[in-house]
Symmetry: D2
Subunit: 325 residues, 4 copies
């Protein structure tokens, strides 16, 4: 336990140093107010242990990290199959690109690009955007057993209004999907999406949220199943192939953990069978990912040997002796 | 052990049934001669055990599966860094697309699309294509300890000539990269690529080849290191995000194992810390992947619980009791 | 005069025969109600003479032909330079494509594709869409000296509502341009565009409208200048390079006259220094142009020697004698 | 006549001043040796009169201007229909782009982009590239009645070798077309293209060449027909819609004359029924067109009223009096 805390603290120090080279997102004015030097990290193990460091009280909006939450919520509810609307392939394009949407008759490549997330958000239960978001917040509360600081994953009204006032690219995506009958009501879909992006968390509540994904769908405290093991594997597969914008490949090579990032500077990462981790650092690199977050994830993956591509103990033993030994 | 053989045999039966819905690739005449009903599968465990079923004596050309071998060979040699020439991101396009190459000034997105593999192949040691291929065959022989049927991973001359006579799209890619100084000699690069695609293997020798990737870089028989653990993780990450053409996402969701497919109907899959598997079935689906291979991989992953996104034993225990129990 | 009428009648017969191979546009339900066998044509000469044939009383919505009218209206008013918002180059893409808009930061390639026309429509004078359309209708009335059947170029409410209810692709274009600050209010821009597309004309009033473009900007009846000669030349140049969707090149080769087509089956064509022509035939070819209209324009251009690429009398004299003779 | 010379001299002065803002093309080393301040212009009227100014003795390679010559030569010979291989639509892309070639299964959009010209060049009569070029030079000599300075339109060996050593982008286009069976032998096609680009002319011989295009296909000296009137109109239509790379629209609006430019700094322009003009000025603007040439063409078109979009005398008379007067 102390070992974990030492490594997490070291990760935070590395992240804090890295943050200087990034820039806070300013495509919506409210996001631009974040403190670029703010850095936080939390690790939550399936066995209930954990550690955190840095500005752990700082709350941030989920932004694109919310795409994982709404996808899981829709899959958990089971009333709609999100994959009737969206594909499962990486797009190779920027997260907000409309090009491939045109080529592929309005069907988003996957649920973790903006178009796909907008299409999935509309499937959240509820007659209107605000009720749909209550469904999502309820899911977040259940999945974390109320672990958020005030138990609520509240909506940041200023960010929401800022998104709503400026989000014309997302409106273009929604209108385009409506043209192809992929969404039913583009205004409902996009407003729901703006709201889910504006939900607040801190690194500890976000890491806590990830635990059911690390466990194969079961809440580790209660043993209750939140999502099927198969759905959980699908979400982790999508995070691995589509979760980090144009750096998904680089992240897979350098870190090797299913993860999802957001322009607020949040990253949620899941190590199946072991732990969930959350990072925060609003200073972003050129591809829109938190520079502190990327540096911290890389250190944690290396020091804790978390890569899903690692041969682990089996590999080490072979090198010592050979299988024939 | 008998259990493994039973599952592998069941996989083969499933694959054989699935093969009927596919079509043999005919973009080069020689490939079109393959028997569409031919199906084979082999599993090689790191502990030396294994099982196989079907037409295990049938030899096939590696085609795009060779991209993994040449990348590993170049990384093992260490004289050139392939990632100075090629990126690591999924492309979202067809494997032979030239579009993104134009957008991105001749730099291939990753080493597993054709353009990237052509650029990497030129880095194989040797003054000309035939010597470069000897370097690659030497690497295959070392990595498998001569496990190929005649120890040689021989070149299929008819396939090679067929590739060479018809491969104008690959020549276009090579010329385009030369325009951007990504390759030194497009004729050498593309001829080397045609040759590596024409190397022969069977499912057992191909699965045996994959073992050093499953072990984190160590030959499991001798305990000798063939590739660094870091390089091995990178290759598995690339296979996961870029290894199955336009079905990389679907494969990640349904199978969840790093893999690379080829139009000959071969698939090589690696489960880190555990095993390597090879499938063969020349009847392809609409995306260019073996339909038998896809079906067999899915069955093996499910029955043997091989998905890298699975929580495994940890998840099951939690469900039974909860962590607090 | 009788010769012109004979040729125009022959054109109409050719157009009527050609119409059988086309299909009425049905992307908005109301348009689909048009009679596919309806065909009309009118020629208006600068000297006041003219001829017409077919269903000359049939009224049709201007659809994309309105793009020429709104561009001319904005240029005539002179309060805004439309080319600050839109380019002047052919796009090579479908008229409603959003791809190039993304590549080129929201700036439409030219004012005759949908995105460009939407951006230009917003520049029509008036505080809201309905007033903006009154400005455009006023311009149409002035330019034709009230030649429309009821003097009004009235708005077809059913078509307008149908456009409005279904035009999500155009809304996507408008939202995307708003994202890049190319339009001020995407809802105003796109609603104005829907309205201008829904204005009604018949072939004679439409041909009459084109006369000021054929004369270099002057109303041929009154001698009053409606538009500068330079602006007129610009509009004709744009019609020639961008006026017929994906058949602009074929039309230039086979007809050789500046023209603009619409999905209602209308085509307006201008022969500088000579005449304006209008065709109608709602049965469209695969590229969205009236098959009757294309056939009629080709016959008229050939029989009346209207191509702007023709050497005319000068060429014929040279062949007879040589310049040296 | 003196008036024409005065205007041509003024054009040259304007061009000389404009040249300072351009840059000589350096994508092949030999082209980079041109004197950026060199400027020349020539006008040849169908009646045998004409004028010229500047460095009229300076010879330059035709580069892309040769695309018009080889297209005319293939059409004149009549053995092959170039439009079985290439389309007639503007591409909207850079002249050397391969993107649309991929989308459209190897069929070039038009004969004036590189891919299209390569496909057309292969159709020149002759068993090999050097004989094909002799066919083209013979056509140039016939069409100009030996008007080139030494009667030969000789090949610049240094430029040709420079093209050949560096033209990998064009080789990529040729290979890609071979993949789609659009060309028979990509090496023959591209070598022929490199050679035709390297043919030499001066502004007077180039303007003289254009006269048969201005006359509707007849040599103005002899009265002999070189090309059908219909083929001539098609070539002028293609020059108008596809002749100036990414400035075809701007040129149509500002100049309004069918023209073709080349990266050597040459521009050939044709006014049907009236004259042919040639400009030279190797300092290029950002789109690859001669800045002096563009400035000179604009001045000549305005001063001599050459725009094919102009209403001419008819328009002026109407303004004075009105048709009703």
């Amino acid at each position: 336990m102390e070992e974990l805390q030492r490594i997490v603290t070291r990760a935070w120090e590395t992240g804090r140093a890295a943050a200087a080279s990034g820039r806070v997102a300013n495509y919506i004015p409210e996001l631009g107010k974040a403190d670029p030097s703010s850095v936080a990290v939390a690790v939550a193990n399936l066995d209930g242990s954990g550690a955190s460091a840095g500005d752990v009280e700082t709350r941030f909006t989920l932004q694109s990290v919310s795409k994982v939450a709404s996808l899981a919520c829709v899959m958990a509810t089971g009333l709609h199959d999100p994959f009737e609307r969206v594909g499962v392939e990486p797009s190779g394009d920027a997260f907000h690109s409309i090009v491939r949407l045109e080529e592929e008759t309005g069907r988003p490549r996957n649920p973790l690009i903006n178009a796909g997330a907008i299409a999935v958000s509309e499937l959240l239960e509820g007659p209107n955007p605000s009720e749909k978001i209550e469904t999502l917040r309820g899911f977040l509360q259940v999945a974390t057993r109320g672990a958020d600081v005030d138990g609520s994953f509240a909506l940041d009204e200023a960010i929401y209004h800022s998104e709503r006032d400026t989000g014309y690219r997302n409106r273009a995506l929604a209108s385009y999907m409506k043209h192809h009958d992929v969404v039913a009501d583009p205004f409902v879909a996009v407003d729901t999406y703006f709201r889910q992006c504006s939900l607040l968390a801190d690194v500890r509540s976000l890491a806590r949220f990830g635990l059911f994904l690390a466990s194969g769908g079961v809440d580790p405290d209660s043993g209750l199943r939140i999502l099927s093991a198969e759905a959980t594997r699908k979400i982790l597969a999508l995070m691995t192939t589509c979760g980090l914008y144009d750096e998904v490949g680089r992240f897979a090579l350098q870190v090797g953990i299913p993860a999802k990032s957001g322009v607020s500077g949040a990253i949620l990462a899941i190590v199946p069978g072991r732990c969930a981790m959350a990072c925060f650092g609003p200073a972003l690199g050129p591809k829109g990912n938190s520079v502190a977050g990327m540096a911290m994830m890389e250190l944690l993956a290396r020091e804790l040997e978390l890569s899903i591509f690692s041969a682990g103990e089996a590999g080490r033993q072979l090198e010592t002796s050979g299988q024939s030994a």
